[in-house]
């Protein structure tokens, strides 16, 4: 059952293929350089918020991730969790994904699409901006979402996130 990837004589690389491999390595170097330029510099902190009726005061990052991966669907008191997100490309969403969930937005989207099209879950509700987020969280029992840090947050509950 052991793996060994021996190449038979007929399968050995020709000079044209070696040339392709060299070009690919060079292309990867260019992409690496490009990614260093593009990597987002996000610094604004994000608050996790919930409907005031939610009984939970704090969550671990793993627990928050379970909620946003749509695996954890009820709060400990049995109330259904309603998950809200901002548009994937918004700066606050990217900060939230990276800092609080330790995931990148494209990973989350992939999981949601997998759940949606395999029947094993449903995606969260996407909102256009932070004002809509505040309003949705304040008026939806069991809701959880996030916004950029603000001086005063009213009508919603701030949940602390433990590493």
């Amino acid at each position: 059952m052991a793996f060994s990837f021996r190449i038979q004589p007929e399968q050995s690389l020709g000079s044209a293929q070696k040339d392709i491999v060299k070009r690919l390595i060079f292309s990867f170097y260019l992409l690496w350089w490009h990614s260093a330029l593009l990597a987002a510099e996000l610094t604004a902190p994000v608050s996790v918020i919930a409907h005031p009726s939610v009984q939970v005061e704090s969550l671990s990052q793993a627990q928050l991730r379970s909620i946003y991966l749509m695996r954890q669907v009820v709060w400990p008191d049995g109330i259904a969790i309603r998950v809200f997100t901002l548009t994937p490309r918004s700066a606050v969403n990217q900060q939230f994904c990276r800092d609080q969930l330790q995931l990148f937005p494209y990973q989350l989207e992939r999981v949601w699409q997998k759940l949606t099209y395999s029947g094993t879950g449903t995606p969260p509700t996407e909102l256009q901006d932070e004002q809509a987020m505040l309003q949705a969280i304040a008026t939806t029992p069991g809701a959880i979402g996030y916004i950029g840090i603000q001086d005063e947050i009213q009508d919603v509950k701030v949940i602390s996130i433990k590493p």
Partner: protein
């Protein structure tokens, strides 16, 4: 029996869709996708027999999910597929199952599924025919062999999925047991075009474990598969009664960075054949395969893909040297392996509209159907390149 099962599934789905308008929006979700493409593999039968440009790259799906209670949910998807020679075309019930959430605490979730469910054990298996979820139009054939798609894509039976969050990371365990009805058309695509008898999958038993370490962007997984098939010959048939055992040992890995990602899957597959070719015949063969897939986010709307896929039908004969000897010169040695370099680009044209283009440089014909009695009269070239373009919309 298959027809009655499909009719009952259809009835359930119609009921599911019928009641949708009457229930609260919170309990009811529906989604869908529509994709159409063009593809060509001029020198093989991968897409069609004549090598012409083909429009047989259509995938349409409509799914619904209804929450019966906080712990119970019914989900179903109706799908139309046309992939040319790659798999059977037409409408099908892709999945229809009852989901019971047995445990839903903050650190442990346990779900049970009963009905027709998707194969959740491999990296891309559960949504392999949903164009927007696939990294490439043509997935690495070493693992996702298209001729075998209808058998590997899901099962009728029971499945369990457990996820645990611990201090060292997240563990996910998936188990499933069931079988898949096999049509004659599927048998002809997998085994031999001349086949006349009845092929049955007796069972398929799978288990997999995924581990995502805490504070890490790496995911590791292993997966095991055990399945038995039988073939019962027709009164007039070239082949004899036979039994096949297929066992897979697989490993997978994925690393995700902000702008790029690498993923890989490895497989060793044992096929133990008894009978079929002759009344008294036995052959035990181990195939191996692996792919490495890289993707890079060039911009918010453009993603690049590069893949290398490697497959050998017999690990003790990687170059296929035994094939001409065993077949009296009928089967060339390049039917014993397949290697594929793939390059692709995905462009988001709008929020739910995407265009994919890709090109594959393919050497060897080891992953072209049918697999047991290969189509040597069509696949005469060791090198056969493939291109494909696909436009997709989803909601």
């Amino acid at each position: 029996m298959l027809k009655s099962f499909q009719l009952s599934l259809s009835a359930c789905l119609l009921v599911l869709f019928g009641i949708s308008e009457a229930v609260a929006a919170d309990n009811w979700h529906w989604h869908g996708f529509l994709s159409q493409g063009l593809m060509q593999d001029e020198k093989s039968n991968f897409v069609n027999d004549d090598g012409s440009v083909s429009t047989e790259l259509t995938e349409i799906g409509l799914n619904g999910s209804y929450k019966l209670s906080p712990d119970w949910r019914l989900s179903g998807q109706l799908m139309y597929l046309d992939g040319g020679n790659r798999y059977a075309s037409g409408w099908r019930i892709d999945y229809l199952f009852l989901n019971w959430t047995a445990v839903n605490s903050l650190d442990w979730q346990l779900n049970l599924y009963a009905g027709r469910f998707k194969n959740m054990h491999w990296l891309y298996s559960s949504t392999r025919d949903v164009a927007l979820t696939r990294p490439m139009i043509v997935l690495p054939q070493s693992i996702y062999f298209d001729a075998f798609r209808d058998i590997a894509v899901g099962s009728d039976g029971l499945a369990l999925q457990s996820t645990n969050s611990t201090s060292v990371g997240e563990f996910e365990f998936i188990w499933s047991y069931g079988s898949t009805p096999i049509s004659r058309e599927t048998s002809q695509r997998v085994i031999a075009t001349q086949i006349q008898g009845v092929t049955e999958q007796k069972f398929v038993h799978q288990a997999s474990v995924f581990f995502r370490p805490q504070h890490s962007q790496v995911q590791w997984g292993i997966s095991l598969l055990d399945s038995d098939f039988s073939y019962r010959r027709a009164p007039v048939d070239l082949f004899f009664d036979g039994d096949f055992t297929v066992q897979r040992v697989m490993a997978n890995w994925r690393y995700s960075a902000e702008l790029w990602e690498l993923s890989s899957e490895l497989v060793q597959e044992r096929v133990f054949a008894r009978g079929f070719y002759q009344p008294v015949f036995a052959r035990n063969q181990f195939a191996q395969g692996a792919f490495l897939l890289a993707s890079y986010n060039w911009s918010d709307s453009t993603r690049l893909y590069l893949s290398y896929d490697w497959y050998t039908a017999n690990k003790d004969d990687r170059g296929g040297a035994l094939l001409p000897l065993q077949s009296g010169g009928m089967v060339p040695r390049f039917f014993g392996y397949q290697r594929d370099w793939g390059l692709g680009v995905t462009q988001d044209l709008a929020k739910q509209l995407r265009l994919k283009l890709e090109y594959h440089w393919i050497t060897g014909t080891g992953r072209l159907g049918p697999n047991v009695v290969p189509a040597v009269e069509i696949n005469r070239s060791r090198q056969h390149d493939l291109w494909a373009v696909q436009l997709m919309y989803w909601f």
